[in-house]
């Protein structure tokens, strides 16, 4: 480091004597600059911040949540934090992925429209009020209220209403029969309704739950801090809680750039980084974990398009490119034959991902052309900007593959709002000349294929570009089924839409996490980051 102390007085004098007026002025200016820089460095210090105490961790996330309210924080930005503060009636076992009790100890569907949950006793909210069936009903009814129209309602089926049967027995009723209501309620963390009523304006930034951690501070734009809830029921029942409070304090910070998130783990500023690139993993993050998820990369075809409404063309498109190649381009993962993975009920084990077969694809296009199909109608392979790593390369690879079999394809990437506007038009509103083969990730957090069918294959599906009355009929039938029967019926739909090549499933990506060498953690299929599942290495 260059510092003024390195220049001896004698040296300065002798230099000065040899200089003319111009040089002396220049030297004085240089020295002032050096002194100013040195002073700035001394004043600011050259350290990178103190190391955190052993029981504290820093977690770096891509985005700051807009809210920590149960009804809004369902999404990627909210649940990594909220799910440590609030709890739901049920959760999933981190290893087996099976539904397990959280605030409920047992539950059953008592008739097609009613479920009853036996609640855990001895649970309190972090404000000290008891959790019982009355509190659970009030919290659930606020979140799922028709009048409030919160985004959480999207995960539920028909209107859902809770009521207390006794102190620890909760009834949840639906307008239409709902055989997977327990799966749906796994998303809904139960808020303290009395606190909402007392101060509705501040609840979104000051949530009160029953979870292992409580919010202690939220500095907008900077950090969120959680600390242990010392009254948490799970302290005395770690087996039921599926975790322990190894961490005393967790500080969440937010960095949009994945390279910066990786750098923070490497520099020792963070212990856990969500979603980093495989390249950053290779570059040396201390511990890098790739986790399978409920997300599936798909290529959704506009079935109203002059070329893509023809089954031969759609099948040719499915055969035109190598799914593994696309997955490798976007960071790794495995091809799948459905728009859900094996974790979902209704996954059809008999199906195989479409294998690349260019000759067969060319023959199908030639056959369609001979039959009068306009195979030269332009197709646009589209995606949302920044939605996947190397997104443009992946789109170009797919478009080139389509051109190679005799179609006319180009690529486009749109910003989030513009892409979502196109994506959510619905089958009936898609212009016939749009010609989108849209690349997107579909997450089936319910792990039930019916949610995917309702969204992507039903004629009225909010993101459907396909319509077949037969699928609608099969879907309606499967919705009311339970257990093995439901699995069979959903698997039959999977086979039907596979043969119809309505949507081309590409693959399930890996999401990467960077960890410091002081903690243990394993990624969950549902993407939750639960502090109770993080422990320190001995």
């Amino acid at each position: 480091m260059f510092s003024p102390e390195l220049l001896g007085d004698g040296m300065k004098v002798s230099k000065s004597m040899m200089m003319n007026h111009k040089e002396r002025g220049f030297t004085r200016l240089s020295k002032r600059l050096v002194l100013a820089l040195a002073a700035a460095l001394v004043l600011t210090g050259c350290s990178s911040g103190g190391e955190s105490a052993t029981s504290e961790i820093t977690i770096v996330l891509p985005e700051e949540p807009r809210s920590l309210a149960s009804w809004n924080a369902y999404s990627n930005d909210g649940h990594p934090i909220l799910r440590n503060i609030g709890e739901a009636l049920v959760n999933r076992d981190p290893v087996s992925n099976e539904l397990v009790g959280e605030l409920a100890t047992s539950w059953e569907q008592v008739d097609p429209k009613n479920w009853q949950f036996t609640l855990r006793e001895g649970v309190t909210f972090t404000d000290g009020t008891p959790f019982n069936a009355e509190a659970a009903a009030a919290g659930l009814n606020y979140v799922l209220s028709e009048a409030n129209a919160f985004p959480m309602r999207n995960f539920l089926g028909s209107q859902t209403t809770a009521s207390a049967v006794s102190e620890y027995l909760l009834n949840v009723a639906t307008v239409d029969p709902d055989p997977i209501l327990d799966l749906r309620l796994y998303f809904v963390t139960i808020p303290q309704a009395a606190a909402i009523a007392a101060d509705p304006a501040s609840y979104e930034t000051n949530p009160i739950g029953t979870g292992p951690y409580k919010l202690t501070s939220w500095t907008r734009g900077e950090s969120i801090v959680l600390e242990q809830n010392t009254d948490w029921w799970g302290i005395s029942s770690p087996d039921d809680a599926k975790g322990t409070q190894s961490i005393a304090k967790a500080t969440y910070v937010f960095r949009t750039e994945q390279t910066v998130r990786s750098a923070m783990v490497e520099a020792g500023e963070a212990d856990f980084s969500r979603w980093i690139s495989p390249e950053d993993c290779d570059a040396g993050v201390v511990v890098c974990l790739g986790g399978a998820t409920v997300e599936t990369g798909i290529l959704r075809l506009d079935n109203v398009h002059p070329a893509m409404k023809d089954l031969r063309v759609r099948t040719a498109m499915a055969l035109a490119f190598d799914k593994q190649e696309v997955m490798d381009l976007i960071g790794g993962g495995d091809p799948v034959p459905q728009i859900v993975g094996p974790s979902a009920l209704g996954f059809n084990d008999d199906l195989e991902p479409f294998a690349k077969d260019v000759e067969k694809a060319k023959a199908l296009i030639a056959e369609a052309k001979a039959a009068g199909v306009n195979v030269s109608a332009p197709i646009t392979v589209a995606a949302r900007t920044g939605y996947v790593a190397n997104g443009q390369e992946a789109l170009t690879y797919i478009a080139d593959a389509f051109n190679a079999i005799g179609l006319t394809a180009k690529t486009t990437m749109l910003d989030t709002a513009a892409a979502e506007k196109q994506w959510t038009m619905g089958y009936k509103n898609i212009p016939t000349d749009r010609g989108w083969a849209g690349f997107w990730f579909h997450g089936n957090e319910l792990m039930d294929y019916s949610a995917s069918v309702g969204s992507y294959y039903a004629c009225n599906g909010p993101v459907s570009a396909y319509c077949n009355p037969k699928v609608d009929a099969l879907y309606k039938e499967a919705l009311q089924a339970t257990g093995q029967d439901r699995d069979t019926k959903l698997a039959a739909i999977a086979a039907f839409v596979y043969n119809d090549a309505a949507v081309i499933p590409v693959g399930q990506p890996l999401f990467y996490f960077g960890l410091s060498d002081k903690i243990n953690w394993a990624p969950r299929m549902d993407g939750f980051i639960l502090l109770k599942e993080i422990s320190f290495k001995s």
Binding site: K22, G49, P151, R255, V260, A267, E420
Partner: protein
């Protein structure tokens, strides 16, 4: 023209311009995307979309919404951010001091650096040091701050551990974003200062000073510098305006909680109630900086002092 009248006239013009800008932004943002679609899951059904739109008053006719918003603006009420659900103007005002701090610190570092580099070049015109500094200043103007920021993080923070990667906790957190941001102004300002100083140094009165035996450094410092300041002040004001407008990329990379990063998040989410106060505050800062630059002209050049 008296100073007060000049400022009053400028304020009136500026108010009209700002109102026009807000109106144009309002219309454009309303045309380019639906914030409700971004708030809800992509699979949300039409009933939920309609109910959410009604909740935020987005189902009203456009003219009615504009009049309602305009009335609010004039009363200082910009509504709640759709994204954060809290009043939008305080969100922007909370970020303002951070943007001002980073901008002024960057300019405060860049201006003396640029002047120093320009003086060194002018004292050795055409020599090796002049060529090196000219090349460096060109690099400063050309280099992408996105790349530079990441490189500084990887080298200074990760490799050497001298400074934190990002954030906003203590004074040292400003150094990397400041250095990243300062590169371009140093390059641009040193080029401007060098060329105007060289022009000044070729004038007859400088030759007279040289004939009197005054050193080159003294001539630059005492005489040429002040006379060449006009264009330097103009470009400095321009650079300050750019910095205050929000160093979007740098604020995002370094998680610096300024207006730039807030503005980009608001745009990405089509959060109109938040976009409008961001634009307003930025526009006000631009107006203020331009006014200060005009007043500085008068201070350094008597020919422009009659406003």
């Amino acid at each position: 023209m008296p100073l007060f009248r000049f400022i009053f006239k400028r304020a009136c013009y500026s108010a009209a311009v700002i109102l026009a800008v807000l109106t144009i932004v309002w219309v454009i943002v309303n045309q380019i995307g639906d914030p409700v679609r971004l708030l809800l899951p992509v699979e949300a059904g039409p009933e939920l979309i309609a109910a959410t739109r009604m909740k935020f008053g987005l189902d009203d006719p456009m003219a009615e919404r504009f009049l309602r918003d305009l009335t609010g603006w004039l009363q200082g009420d910009f509504g709640n951010s759709l994204w954060q659900g809290v009043p939008a103007l305080p969100l922007v005002l909370d970020r303002l001091p951070n943007t001002i701090l980073l901008s002024f610190a960057t300019l405060g570092f860049a201006v003396p650096m640029a002047i120093a580099l320009a003086v060194i070049s002018v004292l050795r015109p055409g020599k090796l040091i002049d060529n090196i500094l000219s090349t460096l200043s060109l690099a400063g103007v050309s280099i992408a701050d996105f790349w530079l920021g990441l490189m500084l993080i990887l080298i200074v923070a990760v490799q050497f551990g001298w400074l934190p990667t990002s954030g906003f906790n203590s004074p040292e957190y400003i150094i990397l974003p400041l250095l990243t941001l300062a590169f371009r102004p140093i390059g641009r300002l040193s080029q401007v200062a060098r060329s105007s100083l060289l022009e000044e140094m070729s004038k007859p009165y400088i030759t007279t000073l040289r004939a009197q035996g005054m050193s080159e450094f003294r001539i630059v410092r005492r005489h040429a510098m002040k006379n060449s300041l006009i264009s330097f002040i103009t470009v400095s004001g321009d650079e300050l305006t750019s910095l205050l407008n929000g160093a979007v990329v740098v604020e995002t990379i370094f998680a610096w909680p300024g207006i730039g990063s807030l503005f980009i998040q608001a745009i990405t989410r089509r959060d109109l109630p938040l976009i409008i106060p961001c634009v307003l505050v930025i526009a006000l800062m631009v107006v203020l900086v331009n006014l200060i630059v005009d007043l500085l002209y008068a201070k350094v050049d008597a020919r422009t002092s009659n406003y």
